[in-house]
Point group: D3
Chain length 165, copies 6
């Protein structure tokens, strides 16, 4: 006799489960995320003075971050495909700590939040900064990637305290 | 004098034609598809006991199937891009026939059906099962890929007789 | 003291800016674009007679153009992801000038126009024609890629004079 | 005190493991795979007579299969990226069983086999055939996807008995 | 009796055929391609002065062109996947004709030429220039996309007369 | 008279420059990278006990990381396409700090290093951990992404002091 055992019976924990958003309302949503990359004095001052051999570090990273946001659902297995209506990447040059701060804003009118898109944009921009500067400093470090603000959707609006974004 | 001949005049059969869904209503739609992979006794019992060298066969196949559904319109030339709101992959272990049965459910609120997405999910999950087990059994066979159920849209709801899904 | 300088202060011109379409209405939109590829007598008559070694030149180019339209937002950094509801590629054989004319129509109900999708479809179809025929004529030239018509959206409908499409 | 537990200690079966081919020789390799799609009399005779509304069923499926082979390592998580040197898709029209048989050949000079690429080509071609004909027959079935022949590499050459390919 | 008819018997012209490069030598190859985009006085002078609202037109187009070259085999159905070792995009501002000239150089050590990659880079850069400037001039035209130079491979080196690149 | 000004004359800093690796030797190369994600007590203990609603957090993240490594050259504009011969992702559960440590190893025989691939694998795995756990803790933070070790290539072998990997 055929003995059919559900996958979940062998390996409950393996059950990757994409949330069903079919019934959720289409609302305007946005999310802001940030991250940092810290580099050596030399790499940092070359970035400030636009002297890295691979070109304009921030321009390339900005475009890579925007493109990265659009690829989120390809990269993160359980993310839903989304039609982003806005992606914005900004950089701040933090002299005192030799860091570049990356901030990404994503927006859409849709059924699910866009914080993963904003985090992906920050991560891809940070990786691109790494790639552009690594010939000078291979020991850079990417830190502090997190969500700062979320608006729209069932869970309501929230914002990390003390942040303006 | 210029003599303009439509492509269709040389080669009518070459005319690939994407259906125009611009005027179709956005409705809730879902589809369920299934497929099977049959393997040798050894490969099958190793799958049951989670001993394949490449890792947890079903977990990897499940994620590949979900990701595959999202890539449907990239793979199938005349499929429309869609925003799936749910993809679910389940496996059944069929001891009597040494088969794994794969079932995929896809959902969205959109202008066109999602049976191709469900079939793509099943196919990519089956191919991944093949890849994970082929070192033990290179002669596996993938069979019985079909649509079991379709809901929503102009053509109405239908279901293969005798199936519960 | 930390001294935070906005990216825009170092390099205003590097600020890639994706237009925010969050508030725009979802309306029916379409665009038509065209382009031309000119080839040698030999390559052209082989195309007419379907004798190129790589296969049916127009069929392959047509499918490539449709697939290309769907990849527009992956290729063009500041394009929004869209759900095209229709892509149509047509060819005309222009004997007097040894050219193939490519025309692409794209449609969707969405928040932004589809002329970049139509232009991308034309470009990818033209590149594919080049690839299929280049063994015979490596000196072909692609010309005249432009938008012929646009409908829907805030900027209103317009059409290049004297065109019917 | 920090207590570091390897992932493998919690969940041995979750360990997805890409085979290390760094030390393997670059050799010429090829693989042949096949699959079948069975359809209703009406859908089948329309395919024979090239009357499906979506266009030339076999041309579109052939190109989709070739493109699918190139996407194999994107679809199958533990496949290595490869540079295929040849992909060939052929169809046979099996009147007695109302089936189309799909055969794919993949070749490369590389460090690992190409049977997954050939199976992916067959699967994507079969899915495309389904998509092109589903308006007429939504109950088609894809069957018999398997590897027929493999050449090159450590495991030696083999071929399913009685096949010529 | 089963009656098996090869696809080629029904539809010879549908036979898309990827060239088999398995036996070709790995040699150093490069190709240079060019193209032009012509715009209105206003759009052109805004490009010169870096005043387009979407940002630094040439920076974005340059990166898009590089990324486009890497996507060539995804876009052009019968192109082989390649590992480009160099992509370079340059622009010239042609005041007398209100055009931007785009030049792309691609290099690799491989079994097949890279002119399609160079042409794809030019095309995607041109499309991106169009996208960045279209709010000011929706009637721009892309012209003169062709191969200027090819080195390496069986067909020998050649160069369009009178060009230095 | 036509007056041709090189792009570099208007905007030197915009010049994105992919390193030319055509002449570099094919050698065996590998890189190891790490990163961390810190979460709340609740999210962390649910991860340990495999109770997150989206499924087996570490399995999904492991596969996403492997797939992410293969997408590196699509994400990072100036990275070369590579044929990775091995990607390995490992996790450590750090109880004392409520962190998961992610380590990625990438290998290939090629003309350029694989540290960007390893960093991308770590980043995508970290983002996936975030996605799997964010319903419980939306304030997680990703930190400490860096290269630990690099072997092969012109720049010689190096390793962050005190690390074993």
């Amino acid at each position: 006799m055929s003995q059919n055992v559900k996958f979940s019976h062998i390996n409950d924990q393996g059950k990757a489960n994409m949330v069903d958003v079919t019934e959720k309302n289409v609302t305007q949503r946005q999310a802001v995320a940030e991250g940092f990359i810290k580099m050596s004095k030399q790499a940092f001052s070359m970035l400030r003075d636009n002297q890295h051999a691979k070109g304009d570090v921030l321009s390339v990273a900005q475009i890579a971050g925007i493109q990265g946001a659009k690829k989120c659902s390809e990269l993160i297995p359980l993310c839903h495909p989304l039609m982003l209506s806005k992606v914005q990447i900004e950089f701040e040059i933090l002299d005192s700590t030799q860091q570049v701060r990356i901030q990404a804003l994503c927006k859409l009118a849709g059924q699910t939040g866009v914080e993963m898109e904003a985090l992906t944009a920050v991560s891809v921009a940070a990786l691109t900064l790494f790639d552009m500067c690594k010939a000078v400093d291979p020991l850079m470090e990417i830190d502090g990637i997190r969500v700062l603000k979320k608006q729209g959707g069932k869970s309501g609006d929230w914002q990390v305290e003390g942040m303006q974004c």
